[in-house]
């Protein structure tokens, strides 16, 4: 892998390049993924790496849902899907894993079932609540990458801490109104979320949002996860993509590590 934009995948430690591939893709798998294996897309080894990867997605609503769906369809082998509560009518403007028939039913169980129906080659584990600190660490330790899509910074920072502790990439997808942001981080090679937000910014849990931006940012989060896991292209390591939906303008900024960051300072010192 290479990078034309500063931090490379090699800098971020290619967790997957050195992984022993247990078994080659079957002929059924090769057929299933034939449109995404080849020049300009994934290599066969990259597809195997996706199959052998575990991704934690929390939560699986407006952005986490499309992110999980695109990863499931692409062949990420194991998805841990955390989302508490039951589906309510206002969710239906953006939560693509649900539908009118799921109203009043637990989200995680039904969302996981839908994902399984989209790809017979993957496993999906439903977690019917939002992980606390301890469980977040346990789940991150079982994962190769975290896609964080909760509605609050408190939850995002918790997942960030768990990812830093586990030494795995962290993708943060966020939205408000018709705009959104996406970050691809792996501390200590890049900033961590706490370097960017030293204190949790205030944010309302019931925020306004149009589902189109949710799906757009969620799909881009999945694309970055697929790139990282399969070793394809140049992930947005250490960068934030901000999409201003009001003006239709995307901007990419390079994020700066905070050498005094209470979350990732210790990890950085260990790495030196």
């Amino acid at each position: 892998m290479s990078s034309r934009q500063g931090i490379s995948s090699q800098d971020c430690g290619n967790t997957f390049a050195e992984r022993k591939i247990d078994s080659p893709l079957s002929s059924d798998e090769l057929e299933r993924y034939s449109r995404q294996i080849g020049p300009g897309v994934l290599t066969e080894q990259g597809q195997q790496q996706l199959r052998d990867a575990t991704v934690l997605v929390t939560r699986a609503g407006g952005m986490g849902g499309p992110a999980a769906l695109m990863m499931a369809m692409a062949g990420v082998g194991r998805i841990l899907l955390a989302h508490g509560g039951t589906m309510i009518s206002p969710d239906l403007n953006r939560q693509v894993l649900g539908n009118e028939q799921v109203l009043g039913k637990p989200r995680a169980t039904h969302f996981a079932e839908y994902l399984r129906s989209m790809n017979r080659f993957i496993e999906v584990e439903a977690i019917d609540h939002e992980p606390d600190d301890e469980e977040a660490h346990q789940l991150a330790a079982r994962s190769d990458l975290v896609v964080a899509c909760p509605p609050t910074f408190k939850e995002r920072l918790r997942l960030n801490r768990a990812s830093v502790a586990a030494g795995i990439p962290f993708i943060d997808a966020a939205q408000w109104g018709i705009s959104g942001t996406l970050m691809v981080l792996k501390s200590p090679r890049t900033a961590c979320l706490e370097c960017v937000y030293p204190t949790p910014p205030p944010f309302e849990e019931l925020f306004p949002v149009v589902g189109a931006i949710s799906s757009a940012i969620g799909s881009l989060a999945a694309l970055e996860a697929i790139k990282v896991l399969s070793g394809t292209g140049d992930p947005l390591w250490g960068k934030m993509l901000s999409y201003d939906g009001n003006r239709g303008i995307p901007t990419v900024i390079s994020l700066t590590r905070n050498p005094q960051c209470p979350c990732c300072q210790e990890t950085a010192e260990d790495a030196e």
Binding site: F153, S179, V196, M240, V252, I253
Partner: protein
């Protein structure tokens, strides 16, 4: 010196109250630009402290905690009011 100003994210409405370009004296620093922005907002309004700042495409901190580099003619100052939202 003129710098380009973009405010996006959670508080984009504030951006509609601000000019697209800020006119500053030579040798101005980021803190001078932020003071000029605050002065341009309606009375009683201020920028959110956790608003991210990026100068010329590089993150330089938040409104509350940031580096204070000297600005250059034509530079772009991007303010991203944080979004979470799941």
């Amino acid at each position: 010196m003129k710098i380009h100003l973009i405010l996006t994210g959670r508080a984009y409405q504030q951006g509609e109250q601000l000019p697209e370009q800020l006119e500053l004296s030579d040798q101005s620093r980021l803190s001078d630009a932020l003071a000029a922005i605050t002065a341009a907002l309606p009375e009683g309004e201020s920028l959110q402290g956790s608003c991210l700042l990026a100068l010329g495409g590089t993150h330089v901190g938040t409104v509350d905690q940031h580096q204070d580099p000297q600005l250059t003619e034509g530079q772009e100052l991007l303010l991203i009011a944080p979004v979470a939202g799941g």
